[in-house]
């Protein structure tokens, strides 16, 4: 039994091809003679079925060139400050950024349109049913920010 215990410690190395012939030969003989140790060897071998070769990885296009450029530009390559646990995910950050950009563009557009519609001379008068585009844009901005904040809170 002690011999079995000792032999079984060699089984993983044997299966990994790490034993010399001088070490492997006695183990092989023992396995031929010992059902228990053969079962132990089969148990070790069965583990390898869990470590199967995986599909080839996909490296992002241009990865190497980008790394080399950043390295030579003096970029330390370290990640930014650690993200807090409740930090917005990259997708949410994109949504927030896109929303802010869109709101800014709307603002610029509405100002431009408003400028082109500005009456001159005697046409200049206050008109109570003319909605201020700027107010509308500001309300849209507030709505967009509130939506984004709610999304962040949910995360």
């Amino acid at each position: 039994m002690d011999d079995c215990k000792q032999q079984q410690t060699l089984i993983p190395s044997y299966l990994d091809g790490e034993l010399s012939e001088a070490q492997a030969a006695p183990l092989r003989q023992h396995l031929l003679a010992c059902q228990g140790c053969r079962n132990a060897a089969q148990g070790e071998r069965s583990l390898k079925a869990w470590f199967q070769a995986e599909a080839a990885v996909t490296v992002p296009v241009g990865f190497a060139a980008r790394i080399a450029r950043r390295a030579f530009e003096g970029d330390t390559g370290e990640l930014d400050a650690p993200l807090p646990a409740n930090a917005p995910t990259p997708i949410l950050r994109f949504v927030l950024t896109a929303t802010a950009v869109a709101a800014g563009l709307l603002l610029v557009l509405s100002v431009a349109l408003r400028s082109s519609e500005l009456p001159s001379g005697d046409r200049l008068r206050a008109d109570s049913d003319t909605l201020q585009p700027l107010d509308q844009v500001l309300r849209e901005l507030d709505a967009a920010n509130a939506t984004a904040e709610r999304a962040t809170d949910r995360k």
Partner: protein
């Protein structure tokens, strides 16, 4: 021309390292291209998130660039950068708040690991499903066991290479793998008892 031998590859790596240190950006790019696939593959065994994997590999190469002058050629460039990558994995995962399991006690000092009975994947499982299960179990293991199994079973490194990589003796590699495999089986059965032998 054929595939370069290990010695040729080592000479070429050494040459590329020197050229990089001399200011040749293309030489460094070639080094990255040579090993990026293997490092991405390694990172994937620690995280299934492709963004995290890319961050890990990127940071590993940048660290390698900063430390390039310290590469003395005693080990292969691959071993050297592999070691950097394994260390980077832990750093990145900790910063992202997803630390690998660190055993409260030294798993190598805990009582003797007893081999567990045969556990095989169900024949109906697809490769992807087997991979998911395997990595789920690996996530539950102490880091020293997970790394030993990744290097041996996925990267198919020899005991000597693993010993060089981790800075430990071959005897330690053997005992660590023995315990890691037993722990893997135990954890597998606790998470997926259906795979136990009838």
């Amino acid at each position: 021309m054929g595939t370069p031998t290990m010695e040729q590859a080592q000479v070429e790596d050494g040459q590329l390292v020197q050229e990089t240190l001399d200011g040749n950006r293309m030489s460094f790019q070639l080094l990255v291209e040579r090993y990026q696939d293997r490092l991405f593959s390694l990172a994937r065994h620690y995280t299934r998130n492709p963004v995290d994997a890319e961050d890990i590999v990127q940071e590993a190469f940048m660290k390698a660039y900063r430390r390039l002058a310290s590469f003395d050629g005693r080990s292969s460039f691959y071993t050297w950068i592999y070691r950097i990558t394994v260390n980077t994995v832990l750093d990145v995962m900790k910063r992202r708040g997803r630390s690998p399991v660190q055993s409260v006690e030294d798993p190598e000092l805990v009582g003797e690991a007893r081999p567990v009975a045969c556990v095989t994947p169900d024949a109906k499982l697809h490769t992807e499903e087997i991979s998911e299960i395997t990595h789920r179990v690996l996530e539950e293991l102490p880091e020293i066991f997970r790394t030993a199994l990744v290097l041996r079973e996925f990267e198919e490194m020899s005991y000597q290479a693993i010993a060089d990589m981790l800075g430990i003796s071959i005897g330690t590699v053997e005992s660590r793998l023995f315990r890691a495999r037993a722990k893997f089986k135990q954890k597998l059965l606790s998470l997926y008892p259906e795979f136990g032998e009838d």
